[in-house]
Protein backbone atom coordinates (compact mmCIF):
# COMPACT_ATOMS: atom_id res chain seq x y z
CA UNK A 1 0.00 0.00 0.00
CA UNK A 2 2.70 2.45 1.08
CA UNK A 3 4.71 1.63 -2.01
CA UNK A 4 1.76 2.32 -4.23
CA UNK A 5 1.24 5.69 -2.58
CA UNK A 6 4.91 6.60 -2.91
CA UNK A 7 4.81 5.77 -6.59
CA UNK A 8 1.58 7.72 -7.04
CA UNK A 9 3.00 10.77 -5.28
CA UNK A 10 6.20 10.45 -7.28
CA UNK A 11 4.24 10.48 -10.52
CA UNK A 12 2.40 13.61 -9.41
CA UNK A 13 5.69 15.41 -8.95
CA UNK A 14 7.24 14.20 -12.18
CA UNK A 15 4.33 15.07 -14.48
CA UNK A 16 4.91 18.85 -14.47
CA UNK A 17 8.51 18.26 -15.66
CA UNK A 18 7.23 16.54 -18.78
CA UNK A 19 4.68 19.32 -19.12
CA UNK A 20 7.31 21.89 -20.15
CA UNK A 21 6.22 21.32 -23.72
CA UNK A 22 5.01 23.24 -26.72
CA UNK A 23 2.14 25.34 -25.36
CA UNK A 24 0.82 28.90 -25.20
CA UNK A 25 -1.55 30.19 -22.48
CA UNK A 26 -4.09 32.60 -23.91
CA UNK A 27 -6.39 34.71 -21.70
CA UNK A 28 -8.83 36.98 -23.53
CA UNK A 29 -12.23 38.65 -23.26
CA UNK A 30 -15.00 36.09 -23.53
CA UNK A 31 -16.66 35.80 -26.93
CA UNK A 32 -13.80 37.35 -28.89
CA UNK A 33 -11.88 34.37 -30.29
CA UNK A 34 -13.87 31.36 -31.57
CA UNK A 35 -12.71 27.83 -30.80
CA UNK A 36 -12.33 27.19 -34.52
CA UNK A 37 -9.51 29.77 -34.75
CA UNK A 38 -7.77 28.20 -31.74
CA UNK A 39 -8.01 24.74 -33.29
CA UNK A 40 -6.74 26.03 -36.63
CA UNK A 41 -3.68 27.50 -34.87
CA UNK A 42 -3.05 24.21 -33.07
CA UNK A 43 -3.26 22.21 -36.31
CA UNK A 44 -1.05 24.57 -38.27
CA UNK A 45 1.71 24.97 -35.68
CA UNK A 46 1.45 21.96 -33.36
CA UNK A 47 1.42 24.35 -30.40
CA UNK A 48 -1.20 23.50 -27.81
CA UNK A 49 -3.34 26.44 -26.65
CA UNK A 50 -4.60 26.68 -23.08
CA UNK A 51 -7.46 29.06 -23.61
CA UNK A 52 -9.36 30.89 -20.86
CA UNK A 53 -11.52 34.01 -20.82
CA UNK A 54 -12.60 36.87 -18.55
CA UNK A 55 -15.38 39.44 -18.72
CA UNK A 56 -13.83 42.37 -16.89
CA UNK A 57 -10.44 44.09 -17.21
CA UNK A 58 -10.26 44.33 -13.43
CA UNK A 59 -10.36 40.55 -12.94
CA UNK A 60 -7.64 40.00 -15.55
CA UNK A 61 -5.52 42.74 -13.97
CA UNK A 62 -5.94 41.35 -10.45
CA UNK A 63 -4.87 37.87 -11.58
CA UNK A 64 -1.72 39.16 -13.25
CA UNK A 65 -0.96 41.51 -10.38
CA UNK A 66 -1.16 38.65 -7.89
CA UNK A 67 1.74 36.78 -9.47
CA UNK A 68 5.11 38.25 -10.51
CA UNK A 69 5.65 35.24 -12.79
CA UNK A 70 2.44 35.19 -14.78
CA UNK A 71 1.00 31.95 -16.07
CA UNK A 72 -0.42 33.69 -19.16
CA UNK A 73 1.40 34.36 -22.44
CA UNK A 74 -1.21 36.40 -24.29
CA UNK A 75 -3.75 38.80 -22.76
CA UNK A 76 -6.23 41.23 -24.28
CA UNK A 77 -6.73 44.34 -22.11
CA UNK A 78 -8.76 47.39 -23.16
CA UNK A 79 -6.62 50.35 -24.13
CA UNK A 80 -6.83 52.14 -20.77
CA UNK A 81 -5.59 49.01 -19.02
CA UNK A 82 -2.74 48.71 -21.56
CA UNK A 83 -1.65 52.15 -20.38
CA UNK A 84 -1.92 51.24 -16.72
CA UNK A 85 -0.10 47.92 -17.07
CA UNK A 86 2.58 49.46 -19.31
CA UNK A 87 3.29 52.15 -16.71
CA UNK A 88 3.45 49.52 -13.98
CA UNK A 89 6.00 47.53 -16.00
CA UNK A 90 3.68 44.53 -16.35
CA UNK A 91 3.95 44.18 -20.16
CA UNK A 92 6.71 42.90 -22.43
CA UNK A 93 7.83 44.74 -25.59
CA UNK A 94 7.06 42.89 -28.81
CA UNK A 95 9.77 41.61 -31.07
CA UNK A 96 8.31 43.15 -34.24
CA UNK A 97 10.57 41.02 -36.47
CA UNK A 98 8.47 38.02 -35.43
CA UNK A 99 5.22 39.81 -36.26
CA UNK A 100 5.30 40.39 -40.05
CA UNK A 101 1.48 40.54 -40.14
CA UNK A 102 1.53 43.67 -37.98
CA UNK A 103 1.31 45.56 -41.29
CA UNK A 104 -2.36 44.49 -41.54
CA UNK A 105 -3.39 46.62 -38.56
CA UNK A 106 -5.38 49.76 -39.28
CA UNK A 107 -2.85 52.58 -38.74
CA UNK A 108 -5.51 54.89 -37.30
CA UNK A 109 -5.41 52.73 -34.15
CA UNK A 110 -1.61 52.77 -33.82
CA UNK A 111 0.67 55.05 -31.77
CA UNK A 112 -2.19 56.25 -29.54
CA UNK A 113 -1.57 57.94 -26.23
CA UNK A 114 -1.96 54.67 -24.29
CA UNK A 115 0.98 53.15 -26.17
CA UNK A 116 2.74 55.99 -28.07
CA UNK A 117 5.07 53.75 -30.12
CA UNK A 118 2.77 50.69 -30.30
CA UNK A 119 5.46 48.60 -28.67
CA UNK A 120 3.28 46.81 -26.14
CA UNK A 121 -0.13 46.43 -27.73
CA UNK A 122 -1.78 45.22 -30.92
CA UNK A 123 -5.24 46.68 -31.53
CA UNK A 124 -7.46 43.71 -32.29
CA UNK A 125 -11.13 44.55 -32.02
CA UNK A 126 -12.93 47.76 -31.21
CA UNK A 127 -16.50 48.70 -30.56
CA UNK A 128 -19.07 51.17 -29.39
CA UNK A 129 -21.07 51.19 -26.20
CA UNK A 130 -24.66 52.17 -26.87
CA UNK A 131 -28.28 51.35 -26.11
CA UNK A 132 -30.21 48.25 -27.16
CA UNK A 133 -33.98 48.12 -27.45
CA UNK A 134 -36.29 45.24 -28.27
CA UNK A 135 -38.71 46.75 -30.79
CA UNK A 136 -41.45 44.33 -29.92
CA UNK A 137 -41.76 45.72 -26.39
CA UNK A 138 -40.28 49.23 -26.56
CA UNK A 139 -40.30 52.08 -29.02
CA UNK A 140 -36.69 52.79 -30.12
CA UNK A 141 -37.67 56.44 -30.63
CA UNK A 142 -37.97 56.90 -26.86
CA UNK A 143 -34.36 55.72 -26.27
CA UNK A 144 -32.26 58.15 -28.27
CA UNK A 145 -30.20 59.34 -25.29
CA UNK A 146 -28.63 57.74 -22.22
CA UNK A 147 -30.76 60.13 -20.15
CA UNK A 148 -33.90 58.27 -21.34
CA UNK A 149 -32.93 55.25 -19.22
CA UNK A 150 -33.57 57.31 -16.08
CA UNK A 151 -37.32 57.44 -16.77
CA UNK A 152 -39.17 56.08 -13.70
CA UNK A 153 -41.36 53.99 -16.03
CA UNK A 154 -38.57 51.46 -16.45
CA UNK A 155 -38.28 50.25 -12.85
CA UNK A 156 -36.39 46.93 -12.62
CA UNK A 157 -36.07 46.56 -16.40
CA UNK A 158 -32.68 47.87 -17.51
CA UNK A 159 -29.53 45.90 -18.21
CA UNK A 160 -26.15 47.56 -17.66
CA UNK A 161 -22.70 46.23 -18.50
CA UNK A 162 -20.88 44.92 -15.44
CA UNK A 163 -18.03 47.36 -16.05
CA UNK A 164 -17.26 50.39 -13.90
CA UNK A 165 -15.71 52.60 -16.59
CA UNK A 166 -18.59 51.98 -19.01
CA UNK A 167 -21.32 52.66 -16.49
CA UNK A 168 -19.64 55.84 -15.25
CA UNK A 169 -19.05 56.99 -18.85
CA UNK A 170 -22.78 56.85 -19.46
CA UNK A 171 -23.52 58.98 -16.40
CA UNK A 172 -20.72 61.44 -17.25
CA UNK A 173 -22.08 61.92 -20.79
CA UNK A 174 -25.58 62.53 -19.43
CA UNK A 175 -24.13 65.28 -17.26
CA UNK A 176 -22.23 66.70 -20.25
CA UNK A 177 -18.75 65.64 -19.11
CA UNK A 178 -16.05 63.67 -20.92
CA UNK A 179 -15.93 59.89 -20.47
CA UNK A 180 -12.33 60.35 -19.33
CA UNK A 181 -13.14 62.97 -16.70
CA UNK A 182 -10.78 62.98 -13.69
CA UNK A 183 -12.38 65.80 -11.70
CA UNK A 184 -13.42 64.27 -8.34
CA UNK A 185 -16.44 66.58 -8.16
CA UNK A 186 -17.71 65.42 -11.57
CA UNK A 187 -17.12 61.77 -10.68
CA UNK A 188 -19.12 62.27 -7.52
CA UNK A 189 -21.97 63.86 -9.48
CA UNK A 190 -21.91 60.87 -11.83
CA UNK A 191 -22.12 58.53 -8.84
CA UNK A 192 -25.13 60.40 -7.44
CA UNK A 193 -26.74 60.32 -10.87
CA UNK A 194 -26.21 56.53 -11.07
CA UNK A 195 -27.64 56.10 -7.61
CA UNK A 196 -30.90 57.54 -8.97
CA UNK A 197 -30.80 54.88 -11.69
CA UNK A 198 -30.46 51.94 -9.27
CA UNK A 199 -34.21 51.16 -8.97
CA UNK A 200 -34.36 50.78 -12.76
CA UNK A 201 -31.48 48.30 -12.97
CA UNK A 202 -32.48 44.68 -13.38
CA UNK A 203 -29.12 43.12 -14.13
CA UNK A 204 -25.41 43.84 -14.55
CA UNK A 205 -23.93 41.62 -17.25
CA UNK A 206 -21.04 41.80 -19.68
CA UNK A 207 -21.74 38.70 -21.79
CA UNK A 208 -25.31 39.55 -22.76
CA UNK A 209 -26.07 37.79 -26.05
CA UNK A 210 -28.42 35.18 -24.55
CA UNK A 211 -30.09 37.94 -22.51
CA UNK A 212 -30.83 39.91 -25.68
CA UNK A 213 -31.96 36.85 -27.65
CA UNK A 214 -34.18 35.40 -24.92
CA UNK A 215 -35.55 38.83 -23.93
CA UNK A 216 -34.45 38.56 -20.31
CA UNK A 217 -34.04 42.32 -20.57
CA UNK A 218 -35.46 44.47 -23.34
CA UNK A 219 -33.58 47.71 -22.93
CA UNK A 220 -30.17 48.68 -21.65
CA UNK A 221 -26.49 49.28 -22.28
CA UNK A 222 -24.62 47.05 -24.67
CA UNK A 223 -21.65 46.74 -27.06
CA UNK A 224 -22.59 47.07 -30.74
CA UNK A 225 -21.12 43.74 -31.90
CA UNK A 226 -23.24 41.82 -29.41
CA UNK A 227 -26.40 43.37 -30.89
CA UNK A 228 -25.31 42.48 -34.41
CA UNK A 229 -24.84 38.89 -33.30
CA UNK A 230 -28.05 38.70 -31.23
CA UNK A 231 -30.04 40.13 -34.16
CA UNK A 232 -29.37 36.97 -36.15
CA UNK A 233 -31.45 35.02 -33.65
CA UNK A 234 -33.84 37.74 -32.51
CA UNK A 235 -34.49 40.32 -35.25
CA UNK A 236 -36.37 42.61 -32.84
CA UNK A 237 -33.20 43.81 -31.10
CA UNK A 238 -31.96 47.22 -32.28
CA UNK A 239 -28.80 49.18 -31.53
CA UNK A 240 -28.90 52.94 -30.90
CA UNK A 241 -25.95 55.34 -30.96
CA UNK A 242 -26.90 57.67 -28.08
CA UNK A 243 -27.33 61.33 -29.04
CA UNK A 244 -25.59 62.47 -25.86
CA UNK A 245 -22.35 60.74 -26.90
CA UNK A 246 -20.81 57.32 -26.43
CA UNK A 247 -17.62 55.41 -25.69
CA UNK A 248 -15.41 54.01 -28.43
CA UNK A 249 -13.14 51.31 -27.04
CA UNK A 250 -10.25 49.26 -28.38
CA UNK A 251 -9.14 45.88 -27.03
CA UNK A 252 -5.50 45.00 -27.65
CA UNK A 253 -3.34 41.93 -27.53
CA UNK A 254 -0.34 42.13 -25.22
CA UNK A 255 2.29 39.82 -23.74
CA UNK A 256 2.78 40.02 -19.97
CA UNK A 257 6.29 40.60 -18.72
CA UNK A 258 8.07 37.30 -17.92
CA UNK A 259 5.49 35.32 -19.90
CA UNK A 260 6.60 31.67 -19.80
CA UNK A 261 6.18 31.02 -23.54
CA UNK A 262 6.92 34.38 -25.17
CA UNK A 263 8.13 32.88 -28.46
CA UNK A 264 4.91 30.92 -28.91
CA UNK A 265 2.95 34.02 -27.91
CA UNK A 266 4.49 35.87 -30.88
CA UNK A 267 3.56 32.99 -33.18
CA UNK A 268 0.00 33.10 -31.85
CA UNK A 269 -0.29 36.87 -32.32
CA UNK A 270 1.15 36.77 -35.83
CA UNK A 271 -1.40 34.07 -36.67
CA UNK A 272 -4.27 36.13 -35.25
CA UNK A 273 -3.22 39.12 -37.38
CA UNK A 274 -3.26 37.11 -40.62
CA UNK A 275 -5.99 38.62 -42.80
CA UNK A 276 -7.95 35.38 -43.33
CA UNK A 277 -7.84 34.50 -39.60
CA UNK A 278 -8.76 38.01 -38.42
CA UNK A 279 -11.62 37.98 -40.93
CA UNK A 280 -12.98 34.64 -39.63
CA UNK A 281 -12.69 35.93 -36.04
CA UNK A 282 -14.45 39.20 -36.94
CA UNK A 283 -17.31 37.33 -38.60
CA UNK A 284 -17.69 35.13 -35.55
CA UNK A 285 -17.64 37.82 -32.85
CA UNK A 286 -19.41 40.47 -34.98
CA UNK A 287 -17.29 43.31 -33.60
CA UNK A 288 -15.48 45.86 -35.78
CA UNK A 289 -11.97 44.63 -36.49
CA UNK A 290 -8.83 46.76 -36.18
CA UNK A 291 -7.30 44.65 -38.94
CA UNK A 292 -7.69 46.64 -42.15
CA UNK A 293 -6.71 43.76 -44.44
CA UNK A 294 -9.37 41.59 -42.78
CA UNK A 295 -12.01 44.33 -42.91
CA UNK A 296 -11.66 44.45 -46.71
CA UNK A 297 -12.35 40.70 -46.93
CA UNK A 298 -15.56 40.81 -44.86
CA UNK A 299 -18.86 39.78 -46.47
CA UNK A 300 -21.06 42.69 -47.48
CA UNK A 301 -23.68 42.24 -44.72
CA UNK A 302 -21.05 42.83 -42.01
CA UNK A 303 -18.96 45.42 -43.85
CA UNK A 304 -22.00 47.54 -44.68
CA UNK A 305 -23.79 47.10 -41.37
CA UNK A 306 -24.42 50.49 -39.77
CA UNK A 307 -24.43 48.78 -36.36
CA UNK A 308 -20.90 47.41 -36.79
CA UNK A 309 -19.25 50.15 -38.87
CA UNK A 310 -21.24 53.38 -38.33
CA UNK A 311 -20.88 56.35 -40.66
CA UNK A 312 -18.20 58.99 -39.91
CA UNK A 313 -21.07 61.32 -39.04
CA UNK A 314 -22.18 59.08 -36.17
CA UNK A 315 -18.59 58.38 -35.14
CA UNK A 316 -18.09 62.08 -34.46
CA UNK A 317 -20.29 61.70 -31.35
CA UNK A 318 -17.97 58.99 -30.06
CA UNK A 319 -15.16 59.50 -27.60
CA UNK A 320 -12.10 57.26 -27.27
CA UNK A 321 -11.59 55.78 -23.83
CA UNK A 322 -8.19 56.73 -22.45
CA UNK A 323 -6.44 55.97 -19.20
CA UNK A 324 -7.20 58.08 -16.17
CA UNK A 325 -4.99 58.79 -13.18
CA UNK A 326 -4.72 56.20 -10.42
CA UNK A 327 -6.47 58.61 -8.05
CA UNK A 328 -9.43 59.03 -10.38
CA UNK A 329 -9.55 55.29 -11.07
CA UNK A 330 -9.65 54.36 -7.41
CA UNK A 331 -12.40 56.96 -6.95
CA UNK A 332 -14.39 55.22 -9.75
CA UNK A 333 -13.80 51.87 -8.03
CA UNK A 334 -14.85 53.20 -4.64
CA UNK A 335 -18.15 54.59 -5.98
CA UNK A 336 -18.69 51.53 -8.18
CA UNK A 337 -18.38 49.28 -5.16
CA UNK A 338 -20.93 51.42 -3.32
CA UNK A 339 -23.33 51.27 -6.25
CA UNK A 340 -23.07 47.49 -6.47
CA UNK A 341 -23.85 47.35 -2.78
CA UNK A 342 -27.05 49.30 -3.27
CA UNK A 343 -25.78 52.88 -2.92
Amino acid sequence: MMRFITVALGLLIITPLFAAENIVNVYTWSGVIPDSAIRQFETETGIKVNFSTYDSNEVMYAKLKADKNPSYDVIEPSSYYIDRMRRQDMLAKFNKAELPNFKNINTSFLNQSYDPKSEYSIPFIWGITGIFVNKEYRDPASFQRWADLWNKKYADQIMLLDDSREVFSMALRTLGYSVNDENPEHIKQAYLKLKELLPNIKIFNSAPISILVDEDANVGMVWNGDVFRAKKENPHVDFIFPKDGFVVWVDNFAIPKNAPHAANAHKFLNFMMRADVAKAVAIDNSFPTANLAAQKLLPADVRDSKTVYPSPDVMRRGEFQTDISDDALSLYEKYWERLKMGG
Binding site: S56, A62, D214, D216, L329, E337, G342
Partner: protein, 284 residues
Protein backbone atom coordinates in the same frame (compact mmCIF):
# COMPACT_ATOMS: atom_id res chain seq x y z
CA UNK B 1 -0.64 -7.52 11.30
CA UNK B 2 -1.07 -5.19 14.23
CA UNK B 3 1.82 -3.00 13.15
CA UNK B 4 0.38 -2.77 9.66
CA UNK B 5 -2.97 -1.60 11.04
CA UNK B 6 -1.24 1.08 13.02
CA UNK B 7 0.75 2.41 10.09
CA UNK B 8 -2.45 2.62 8.06
CA UNK B 9 -4.11 4.46 10.92
CA UNK B 10 -1.28 6.96 11.24
CA UNK B 11 -1.16 7.36 7.51
CA UNK B 12 -4.85 8.20 7.17
CA UNK B 13 -4.86 10.46 10.23
CA UNK B 14 -1.65 12.09 9.03
CA UNK B 15 -3.13 12.71 5.58
CA UNK B 16 -6.17 14.39 7.09
CA UNK B 17 -4.01 16.56 9.33
CA UNK B 18 -1.69 17.45 6.47
CA UNK B 19 -4.70 18.27 4.33
CA UNK B 20 -6.23 20.51 6.99
CA UNK B 21 -2.95 22.30 7.68
CA UNK B 22 -2.07 22.91 4.04
CA UNK B 23 -5.54 23.72 2.71
CA UNK B 24 -7.32 25.25 5.71
CA UNK B 25 -4.98 26.48 8.41
CA UNK B 26 -2.22 27.85 6.19
CA UNK B 27 -4.53 29.82 3.86
CA UNK B 28 -6.36 31.23 6.86
CA UNK B 29 -3.03 32.27 8.42
CA UNK B 30 -2.10 34.00 5.14
CA UNK B 31 -5.45 35.78 5.01
CA UNK B 32 -5.02 36.90 8.62
CA UNK B 33 -1.54 38.25 7.79
CA UNK B 34 -2.88 40.03 4.71
CA UNK B 35 -5.62 41.66 6.78
CA UNK B 36 -2.95 43.66 8.63
CA UNK B 37 -1.19 44.81 5.45
CA UNK B 38 -1.56 48.16 3.69
CA UNK B 39 -2.27 48.51 -0.01
CA UNK B 40 -1.61 51.11 -2.69
CA UNK B 41 -2.34 51.36 -6.39
CA UNK B 42 0.70 49.43 -7.55
CA UNK B 43 0.93 46.79 -4.80
CA UNK B 44 -1.77 44.41 -3.69
CA UNK B 45 -0.13 44.06 -0.28
CA UNK B 46 2.54 46.22 1.25
CA UNK B 47 4.01 47.41 4.56
CA UNK B 48 3.53 48.95 7.10
CA UNK B 49 1.31 46.70 9.15
CA UNK B 50 -1.90 48.45 10.13
CA UNK B 51 -5.22 48.01 11.88
CA UNK B 52 -6.85 50.42 9.45
CA UNK B 53 -8.60 47.62 7.52
CA UNK B 54 -10.50 46.62 10.61
CA UNK B 55 -11.52 50.20 11.44
CA UNK B 56 -12.83 50.57 7.88
CA UNK B 57 -15.30 47.77 8.54
CA UNK B 58 -17.23 50.00 10.91
CA UNK B 59 -19.08 51.47 7.98
CA UNK B 60 -22.83 51.73 7.41
CA UNK B 61 -22.68 49.95 4.04
CA UNK B 62 -20.76 46.95 5.33
CA UNK B 63 -23.06 46.61 8.32
CA UNK B 64 -26.04 46.79 5.98
CA UNK B 65 -24.62 43.99 3.82
CA UNK B 66 -23.91 41.89 6.86
CA UNK B 67 -27.47 42.33 8.13
CA UNK B 68 -28.88 41.60 4.69
CA UNK B 69 -26.77 38.43 4.30
CA UNK B 70 -27.77 37.35 7.77
CA UNK B 71 -31.44 37.87 6.92
CA UNK B 72 -31.21 36.03 3.58
CA UNK B 73 -29.25 33.14 5.11
CA UNK B 74 -31.74 32.84 8.01
CA UNK B 75 -34.73 32.84 5.64
CA UNK B 76 -33.02 30.22 3.50
CA UNK B 77 -32.35 28.07 6.57
CA UNK B 78 -35.96 28.28 7.75
CA UNK B 79 -37.30 27.38 4.28
CA UNK B 80 -34.86 24.45 4.03
CA UNK B 81 -35.96 23.25 7.46
CA UNK B 82 -39.69 23.51 6.66
CA UNK B 83 -39.19 21.64 3.39
CA UNK B 84 -36.50 19.28 4.58
CA UNK B 85 -37.94 18.07 7.88
CA UNK B 86 -41.16 16.43 6.61
CA UNK B 87 -39.19 15.11 3.65
CA UNK B 88 -36.46 13.55 5.81
CA UNK B 89 -39.04 12.25 8.27
CA UNK B 90 -41.07 10.54 5.57
CA UNK B 91 -38.07 8.87 3.98
CA UNK B 92 -36.48 7.86 7.29
CA UNK B 93 -39.67 6.24 8.62
CA UNK B 94 -40.81 4.58 5.44
CA UNK B 95 -40.71 0.78 5.15
CA UNK B 96 -40.78 0.77 1.37
CA UNK B 97 -38.22 -1.03 -0.74
CA UNK B 98 -37.74 2.23 -2.62
CA UNK B 99 -36.22 3.83 0.46
CA UNK B 100 -32.60 3.47 -0.60
CA UNK B 101 -33.50 4.63 -4.09
CA UNK B 102 -35.06 7.79 -2.61
CA UNK B 103 -31.96 8.41 -0.52
CA UNK B 104 -29.82 7.96 -3.63
CA UNK B 105 -31.93 10.59 -5.41
CA UNK B 106 -30.91 13.16 -2.78
CA UNK B 107 -27.25 12.40 -3.40
CA UNK B 108 -27.36 12.32 -7.21
CA UNK B 109 -27.39 16.13 -7.75
CA UNK B 110 -23.98 16.24 -6.01
CA UNK B 111 -22.54 14.39 -8.99
CA UNK B 112 -22.95 17.60 -11.01
CA UNK B 113 -21.10 20.78 -10.07
CA UNK B 114 -23.24 23.21 -8.11
CA UNK B 115 -22.19 25.96 -10.54
CA UNK B 116 -23.59 24.03 -13.50
CA UNK B 117 -26.81 23.31 -11.63
CA UNK B 118 -27.10 27.03 -10.94
CA UNK B 119 -26.75 27.75 -14.67
CA UNK B 120 -29.51 25.24 -15.31
CA UNK B 121 -31.72 27.20 -12.90
CA UNK B 122 -31.36 30.20 -15.25
CA UNK B 123 -32.89 28.08 -18.02
CA UNK B 124 -35.73 27.13 -15.69
CA UNK B 125 -36.52 30.63 -14.47
CA UNK B 126 -35.97 32.96 -17.42
CA UNK B 127 -38.94 34.71 -19.12
CA UNK B 128 -38.76 32.24 -22.01
CA UNK B 129 -37.68 29.43 -19.67
CA UNK B 130 -39.32 26.13 -18.80
CA UNK B 131 -41.49 27.32 -15.89
CA UNK B 132 -42.84 30.39 -17.70
CA UNK B 133 -43.41 28.43 -20.91
CA UNK B 134 -45.50 25.82 -19.07
CA UNK B 135 -47.49 28.47 -17.20
CA UNK B 136 -48.12 30.42 -20.41
CA UNK B 137 -49.06 27.27 -22.33
CA UNK B 138 -51.58 26.20 -19.71
CA UNK B 139 -53.03 29.69 -19.66
CA UNK B 140 -52.40 30.24 -15.95
CA UNK B 141 -50.59 33.49 -16.74
CA UNK B 142 -50.76 35.68 -19.84
CA UNK B 143 -47.31 37.27 -19.63
CA UNK B 144 -44.06 35.82 -18.27
CA UNK B 145 -43.37 36.17 -14.56
CA UNK B 146 -40.19 38.14 -13.85
CA UNK B 147 -38.63 35.28 -11.87
CA UNK B 148 -35.02 35.63 -12.92
CA UNK B 149 -32.64 38.35 -11.64
CA UNK B 150 -34.64 39.06 -8.50
CA UNK B 151 -34.38 38.31 -4.79
CA UNK B 152 -36.84 35.46 -5.37
CA UNK B 153 -34.57 33.72 -7.84
CA UNK B 154 -31.60 34.10 -5.48
CA UNK B 155 -33.65 32.47 -2.72
CA UNK B 156 -34.82 29.66 -5.04
CA UNK B 157 -31.19 29.04 -6.03
CA UNK B 158 -29.97 29.03 -2.44
CA UNK B 159 -32.68 26.67 -1.20
CA UNK B 160 -32.24 24.37 -4.20
CA UNK B 161 -28.47 24.15 -3.70
CA UNK B 162 -28.50 23.79 0.08
CA UNK B 163 -31.56 21.62 0.79
CA UNK B 164 -29.56 18.33 0.76
CA UNK B 165 -27.34 19.72 3.54
CA UNK B 166 -30.47 20.02 5.70
CA UNK B 167 -31.98 16.68 4.69
CA UNK B 168 -28.93 14.46 5.16
CA UNK B 169 -28.19 15.20 8.87
CA UNK B 170 -31.93 15.03 9.62
CA UNK B 171 -32.19 11.68 7.88
CA UNK B 172 -29.44 10.04 9.92
CA UNK B 173 -30.87 11.59 13.08
CA UNK B 174 -34.49 10.55 12.51
CA UNK B 175 -33.49 7.05 11.44
CA UNK B 176 -32.03 6.50 14.89
CA UNK B 177 -35.27 7.49 16.65
CA UNK B 178 -36.38 4.73 19.01
CA UNK B 179 -39.90 3.62 18.00
CA UNK B 180 -40.59 2.37 21.50
CA UNK B 181 -40.48 5.93 22.85
CA UNK B 182 -43.14 7.01 20.39
CA UNK B 183 -45.27 3.94 21.20
CA UNK B 184 -44.90 4.66 24.91
CA UNK B 185 -46.02 8.26 24.43
CA UNK B 186 -49.09 7.10 22.50
CA UNK B 187 -49.86 4.47 25.18
CA UNK B 188 -49.72 7.16 27.83
CA UNK B 189 -52.36 9.15 25.98
CA UNK B 190 -50.35 11.74 24.03
CA UNK B 191 -51.93 12.76 20.75
CA UNK B 192 -49.91 13.07 17.54
CA UNK B 193 -49.08 16.73 18.10
CA UNK B 194 -47.95 16.24 21.71
CA UNK B 195 -45.85 13.23 20.71
CA UNK B 196 -44.18 15.31 18.03
CA UNK B 197 -43.61 18.30 20.31
CA UNK B 198 -42.50 16.46 23.45
CA UNK B 199 -40.72 13.38 22.04
CA UNK B 200 -39.77 13.61 18.36
CA UNK B 201 -38.77 17.27 18.17
CA UNK B 202 -36.40 17.25 21.19
CA UNK B 203 -34.80 14.00 20.03
CA UNK B 204 -34.20 15.29 16.52
CA UNK B 205 -32.92 18.68 17.72
CA UNK B 206 -29.25 17.73 17.07
CA UNK B 207 -30.13 16.94 13.46
CA UNK B 208 -32.05 20.21 13.11
CA UNK B 209 -29.14 22.20 14.52
CA UNK B 210 -26.41 20.59 12.45
CA UNK B 211 -28.57 20.83 9.32
CA UNK B 212 -29.22 24.50 10.04
CA UNK B 213 -25.52 25.23 10.48
CA UNK B 214 -24.64 23.38 7.29
CA UNK B 215 -27.20 25.49 5.40
CA UNK B 216 -26.68 28.83 7.12
CA UNK B 217 -22.91 29.12 6.73
CA UNK B 218 -22.67 28.56 2.96
CA UNK B 219 -25.83 30.65 2.40
CA UNK B 220 -23.98 33.73 3.64
CA UNK B 221 -20.99 33.32 1.35
CA UNK B 222 -21.98 31.36 -1.77
CA UNK B 223 -21.23 34.31 -4.06
CA UNK B 224 -21.97 32.87 -7.49
CA UNK B 225 -25.68 32.41 -6.80
CA UNK B 226 -26.44 36.15 -6.39
CA UNK B 227 -24.06 36.79 -9.31
CA UNK B 228 -25.81 34.40 -11.69
CA UNK B 229 -29.41 34.42 -10.48
CA UNK B 230 -29.58 37.91 -8.96
CA UNK B 231 -28.04 39.75 -11.93
CA UNK B 232 -24.87 40.72 -10.00
CA UNK B 233 -26.76 43.21 -7.86
CA UNK B 234 -27.95 41.23 -4.85
CA UNK B 235 -25.00 41.29 -2.53
CA UNK B 236 -24.11 38.68 0.06
CA UNK B 237 -21.09 38.75 2.33
CA UNK B 238 -19.38 36.40 -0.12
CA UNK B 239 -19.81 38.90 -2.97
CA UNK B 240 -18.42 41.67 -0.78
CA UNK B 241 -15.25 39.66 -0.15
CA UNK B 242 -15.00 38.66 -3.83
CA UNK B 243 -15.41 42.30 -4.92
CA UNK B 244 -12.62 43.44 -2.63
CA UNK B 245 -10.25 40.89 -4.12
CA UNK B 246 -11.18 41.00 -7.81
CA UNK B 247 -12.74 44.38 -8.52
CA UNK B 248 -11.63 46.91 -5.91
CA UNK B 249 -8.25 45.16 -5.64
CA UNK B 250 -8.17 45.89 -1.93
CA UNK B 251 -6.82 42.57 -0.65
CA UNK B 252 -6.15 43.74 2.91
CA UNK B 253 -9.75 44.92 3.35
CA UNK B 254 -11.11 41.72 1.75
CA UNK B 255 -8.95 39.71 4.14
CA UNK B 256 -10.13 41.70 7.14
CA UNK B 257 -13.77 41.01 6.19
CA UNK B 258 -12.99 37.29 5.86
CA UNK B 259 -11.26 37.18 9.23
CA UNK B 260 -14.09 38.98 11.04
CA UNK B 261 -16.64 36.73 9.35
CA UNK B 262 -14.72 33.59 10.33
CA UNK B 263 -14.51 34.80 13.93
CA UNK B 264 -18.25 35.49 14.08
CA UNK B 265 -18.95 32.00 12.76
CA UNK B 266 -16.53 30.48 15.25
CA UNK B 267 -18.35 32.25 18.10
CA UNK B 268 -21.70 31.01 16.79
CA UNK B 269 -20.37 27.44 16.66
CA UNK B 270 -19.01 27.71 20.21
CA UNK B 271 -22.32 29.01 21.54
CA UNK B 272 -24.09 26.15 19.82
CA UNK B 273 -21.57 23.65 21.20
CA UNK B 274 -22.03 24.90 24.76
CA UNK B 275 -25.81 24.96 24.50
CA UNK B 276 -25.82 21.21 23.99
CA UNK B 277 -25.52 18.55 26.64
CA UNK B 278 -22.75 15.94 26.48
CA UNK B 279 -25.07 13.33 25.08
CA UNK B 280 -26.13 15.51 22.19
CA UNK B 281 -22.51 16.31 21.44
CA UNK B 282 -21.92 12.60 21.03
CA UNK B 283 -24.86 12.35 18.67
CA UNK B 284 -23.23 14.87 16.35
Amino acid sequence: MKAHDNSLKYFSLGTIWLWLIVFALLPFALVTLASFASHDDTHLLTTPATLLNYFQLNNAIYLKIFKQSFYIASTCTVICLLLGYPFAYTIARMQSRYKSLLMLLIIIPFWTSSLIRTYSMITMLKPKGIINSILLWTGIIDKPLPLLFSDTSVMIGLVYNLLPFMVLPLLTNIERLDNRLIDAARDLGANRFTTFRRIILPLTMPGILSGSILVFLPAMTIFYIPDLLGGSKSILLGNLIQNQFLIAQNWPLGSAISVVFTLILAVMLLVYWHSMGNKERDLL
